[in-house]
Symmetry: C2
Subunit: 441 residues, 2 copies
């Protein structure tokens, strides 16, 4: 018999189900189990006297053991769980679980019953047990779909997928936070960003590319947003007229993605996390950094220190969410006109020296830096010299000597987007979190 | 004016095109250029006396410079290239190329005019220039689509996508070929395979998962098939009855992919590489390893050394293609019943100790190892002890203590599949190749 997903069970059929034992009440004449698979949960009711051989097997079961049951499914109005139950005629134990080392009670409406749960670090030690909850499985259903619709959006617009090397010969961009490794008889480094290689694709005439892959940051940060390894979603495209084309593509990409995610998972996200998925209107609100600081001061009395004015402070980042909601009833905000000093050397600058790029803030958290890139070798080299990076990025400068179209792009963090959808921290949202103190499992 | 892709140009329209200067004949009164974008090539004919300002710009152009042209497109039966040309009324130079440091004449019908081309290693030094050819761009069009249709096939069957960590705490499986790095105050290693973590997803109740991501091998191999970093396409799924379910999924996945790739790129692959895409029939031929050796001896006089009989020799791998073509008119061959000694400890074994797994050979090259995995903790631990690996994979064994469904899976190499489609070596097919002696660009 083929397996039926629990969510697809119908009364008055005979089915085979397979899943984890989520609950188990083993009484004298009856046993009541809740079996959970990736699609849902169902009550399995064992008539012990009628099926002594099933009863004998049920006696061996523990929570989180894995079983296969076959038998009729019937409607029963007294069963709380969807009003149906299976009355099995056969059982096969696939795997017996030892006593669980962590307590992982479910989060209700976005709030964990913290007293009953193991700490996040204890749960991460046994991540595979922690991941068996409905809430945690939604993370991966949502993320799989989110990335799929974004990839499809780009494929429909002639973007090609590249897989750029993570092993690199020179510690690029921001040398300090890079992992170094022994590469045969020399040193290599782990890529902190596919930036240089996605720009190489522009110099290769590939015109429009994206990449989904790991990025590595050797930062000793212990915030709820930082990990030493996470999944980047990066794209770059040629023949743009301005960085406004990049912003436009990004808002279209995100709006399409949010529309589809809401349609497919909006109800589940609300049920399991108590959060609404809101489809944004386009164009997204845009403001210059200096104007944002003015608004934050005028409306909330927030005063930024002069030395910090060229960049967005963490406090202003959060506060900007309040402002954009009140002013535009919007969750997204593009911020432009940062100080050249605070931006990467490869951002193209306008005639006043202002970088032609932006940050995008969603729910008060920066999710993207985007820009038109400087593709003119001489200008790029000058900007590079100015930051004293020329020696480090020599190989990269070569990409622009032999013909390169104008281009721009941006990067998103897959894990960060997922966090913001579900109101979770980075440790909770990653399949397997990596931080300065964590390399297991 | 919006840009028109060159392949979409129609006579009697006025368009804007953008691309690389592939050819340039600058005469006294006329200039003839071939402009190439990702979609195709077109002749641009400049009437120099009529447009002296265009002529002045054309005088600055070099091969592989990047330009924007606007103007009418007309039919002209004397133009070899598709019988159309653009007569530009404006030009904008986007980027001037220095003299190209490599010679990259196109491959015709699968054969390079080797005398005129730079060596592959010279071309790899300037990979971005090398990649501008139609042949090389087809690699990424094909690969993007191939991976997309395989992902879609799996999404349609409820597979979730995971991104497992590439930074790992213990040098697993085959400790010798692993890259080691400094991870703050300790050591870490680069993942050689997502094997353990995709199995962890099974213990997490995610049921069916795939991953597309980099894998790292610190092997000092200099063959046309080996790289130190490449892209793996891995999947794993629960509640299988046998490794035959894994083989079935793989043959369906590959047949679906080949059908779609042939439809979309079959003609282009034939035109640019002289190779046919052949859609396989299912089921794929299957043979036991010992029987294959018998057949190869009977048909081709190939004798395998007794000490090598438990595994497939490179010679037999190649020869098996001849055999499967002659016997079944097929390009694929499943080989089963390897020696337990030659297979990974986590392959489940039957009652006779034979691993319940397979290799899949396409065109005489192994593209997959697949198997049902041992999910029973005690049996797994015994098999692990037998290979002396228990200490190394302690963290992995834990996955099976607290409930785990029966499962199996396989892995494919994205780059290797692309190689086989196009008859290329690994250096030619990767976006940016990494080998023991190559970390650039």
């Amino acid at each position: 018999m083929d397996r039926t997903y629990i969510a697809d069970l119908k009364p008055d059929t005979t089915c085979k189900i397979q899943g984890y034992v989520e609950n188990l009440r083993n009484k004298r004449t009856m046993a009541f189990l809740v079996i959970k698979d990736l699609s849902g949960k169902v009550q399995v009711t064992v008539e012990k006297e009628k099926y002594p051989e099933i009863a004998a097997e049920v006696d061996k079961l523990t929570l989180d053991s894995v079983v296969t049951f076959e038998g009729p499914v019937i409607a029963n109005e007294y069963v709380k769980l969807n009003g149906i139950e299976m009355l099995p005629t056969s059982i096969k134990i696939e795997s017996i679980a030892e006593a669980l080392p962590i307590q992982r009670d479910e989060i209700k409406g976005g709030k964990a019953k913290d007293l009953e749960r193991s700490s996040i670090d204890q749960r991460l030690d046994y991540r595979w047990i922690d991941l068996r909850t409905e809430q945690n499985q939604l993370i991966f259903k949502l993320q799989t779909y989110m990335v799929k619709v974004m990839r499809d959006f780009l494929s429909d617009r002639n973007f090609l997928e590249i897989h750029s090397p993570k092993l690199i010969g020179a510690a690029s961009e921001s040398g300090s936070d890079v992992f170094e490794l022994t590469y045969f008889d020399r040193k290599a480094y782990l890529s902190q960003s596919p930036q240089f290689y996605k720009q190489m694709a522009m110099a290769s005439g590939l015109e429009r590319i994206f990449e989904v892959g790991p990025v590595f940051r050797a930062e000793k940060s212990f915030t709820s947003k930082h990990a030493t390894e996470f999944t980047g979603f990066d794209l770059e495209f040629s023949y743009i007229d301005s960085f406004r084309d990049v912003m436009k593509l990004e808002e279209e990409l995100l709006t399409d993605m949010l529309t589809k995610v809401k349609e497919k998972f909006g109800d589940e996200i609300e049920r399991l996390y108590g959060l609404e998925v809101k489809v944004p209107t386009t164009p997204f609100p845009v403001i210059k950094l200096a104007d944002l600081y003015d608004e934050l001061e005028k409306n909330y009395g927030y005063k930024v220190d002069d030395s910090e004015k060229g960049d967005l402070t963490t406090e202003a980042e959060k506060l900007s969410y309040k402002w954009v909601q009140e002013k535009y009833d919007h969750e997204f905000l593009f911020i432009t006109d940062y100080d050249a000093e605070k931006r990467a050397f490869y951002h193209m600058r306008d005639e006043n020296g202002v970088p032609m790029g932006y940050d995008l803030i969603w729910r008060g958290v920066e999710i993207t830096t985007g820009a038109q890139r400087e593709h003119r070798y001489d200008v790029l080299k000058a900007q590079c010299d100015e930051k004293g990076l020329t020696e480090d990025v020599k190989f990269y400068l070569e990409f622009f000597k032999y013909g390169c179209p104008p281009h721009g792009g941006f990067g998103l963090g897959v894990d960060r987007l997922t966090m913001l959808f579900l109101g979770l921290g980075i440790k909770e949202v990653m399949y397997i979190f990596r931080g300065p103190n964590r390399l297991n499992p």
